[in-house]
């Protein structure tokens, strides 16, 4: 399976859902109050986008809360633990740069009006996320020795998980920002993990789902 800007709908929905959960883990822990609010807002947008697509695909609660890890189709990078603030923002930058081509593709290619509607809205929201993440990648990469070191480590840690995004358009989108951030972009040809499409994941997704799904599984059918 090669990376594409027109991935499976479930891949997009699950990527948004899983990344939303990761961002929500920062709530009350971000370095500043403003950033706590920013990550919360972005998590909410992603959750709304995921819900919109899951509602098209079936029962959103069953899909979100009652599938096991092997049934999820998210891009692997989304499920990695948050690490430090540098890794969280670099990951958001990579995923947003991918979604920047995914959403317009869905607007033009999807036959479902509700998918086009979700995508049309998401284009604007994602542009704002991408700008925010880009700003931080540059600020930290071209910042202090310590912030540069952390961004470099984040880049090394995330690079092997870019396989689900790795189109030439994606590289062209991210490389100028990394250069402005004074970060050295690793080789495009370097080895990478890639979601197999048959439910292969890192060991981290199971723990994430255990937390995200615990309430729904302990109280089946519970209403708010």
């Amino acid at each position: 399976m090669s990376a594409t800007s027109d991935p499976d709908l479930l891949t997009v929905a699950d990527s948004c859902l899983v990344l939303s959960h990761r961002l929500s883990e920062w709530m009350s822990n971000a370095p500043t109050m403003e950033e706590d609010i920013a990550l919360g807002n972005i998590a909410l947008d992603l959750l709304g986008q995921a819900r919109g697509l899951l509602q098209v695909l079936g029962d959103e609660d069953e899909l979100a809360y009652l599938r096991g890890p092997q049934e999820f189709r998210n891009a692997l990078m989304c499920e990695l633990p948050n690490g430090d603030f540098a890794l969280t923002l670099l990951r958001l930058f990579f995923v947003s740069a991918w979604l920047e081509s995914v959403w317009p593709a869905l607007v033009t290619s999807s036959s479902a009006p509700d998918v086009r509607g979700v995508a049309e809205k998401a284009i604007k929201e994602n542009a704002y996320h991408l700008r925010h993440a880009s700003t931080w990648v540059i600020r930290l990469g071209d910042g202090t020795d310590e912030s540069h070191r952390r961004m470099t480590e984040a880049l090394d840690a995330l690079w092997p998980y870019r396989g689900d995004f790795a189109t030439s358009g994606w590289y062209d989108r991210i490389e100028p920002v990394l250069a402005t951030a004074t970060l050295t972009t690793p080789d495009r040809d370097a080895w990478t993990q890639r979601s197999s499409g048959d439910g292969w994941h890192t060991e981290h997704l199971g723990y994430l789902l255990a937390e995200m799904q615990s309430l729904a599984r302990a109280h089946p059918g519970a209403k708010w």
């Binding site: 403003e34 920013a38 807002n41 947008d45 992603l46 959750l47 919109g52 086009r116 049309e120 809205k121």
Partner: protein
């Protein structure tokens, strides 16, 4: 979209506030795309378009719209329409004055701006000066950013152009 037989529905909708910015009604906000009363006047169909994908107010608004209309109609149907996507261009002109009076700078600029350009507040809603700067691109709700006035030093919300 309004017609005379649906005027009653629109008048009722004017009374439904946005739960997070109660100074605006859902009609001011531009999210009511249509309200059509049946010929016998017993039922009404309202079409709403959400502001942001994950805005927690969306479900509250749908609930409040239904509850308000059920006081006057036997049957109320609330539909969600995602496309075309909501934009701040759909806000009514009066909404801008209401926001300003409430201490929130209204959105500036139109859709022809680049996608990520959410505009810049024209003036501080507290003292009216133009010397303002951004504190944070995200705010207390998805639709707002946090700014401050460099003259009176008051922080204020800016309703982002979207």
């Amino acid at each position: 979209m309004t017609n005379s037989s649906s005027a009653r529905a629109w008048a009722l909708l004017e009374q439904v506030p946005d739960p997070e910015i109660p100074v605006l009604s859902v009609v001011d906000l531009g999210i009511v795309r249509d309200a059509v009363e049946s010929e016998d006047g017993h039922s009404v169909v309202v079409t709403l378009t959400p502001t942001y994908s994950g805005c927690p107010a969306t479900e509250v608004i749908a609930h409040d719209v239904r509850a308000t209309l059920e006081s006057s109609y036997d049957h109320v149907e609330v539909r969600t329409q995602l496309s075309p996507a909501w934009t701040t261009d759909w806000m009514r002109p009066e909404a801008r004055e209401k926001l300003h009076g409430h201490g929130i700078a209204p959105p500036e600029g139109r859709r022809s701006l680049p996608l990520v350009d959410v505009g810049t507040p024209a003036t501080c809603p507290r003292c009216g000066r133009r010397e303002v700067e951004e504190i944070a691109p995200f705010g207390s709700t998805p639709c707002k950013a946090l700014w401050r006035c460099t003259i009176c030093r008051e922080p204020f919300d800016y309703f982002k152009r979207h």
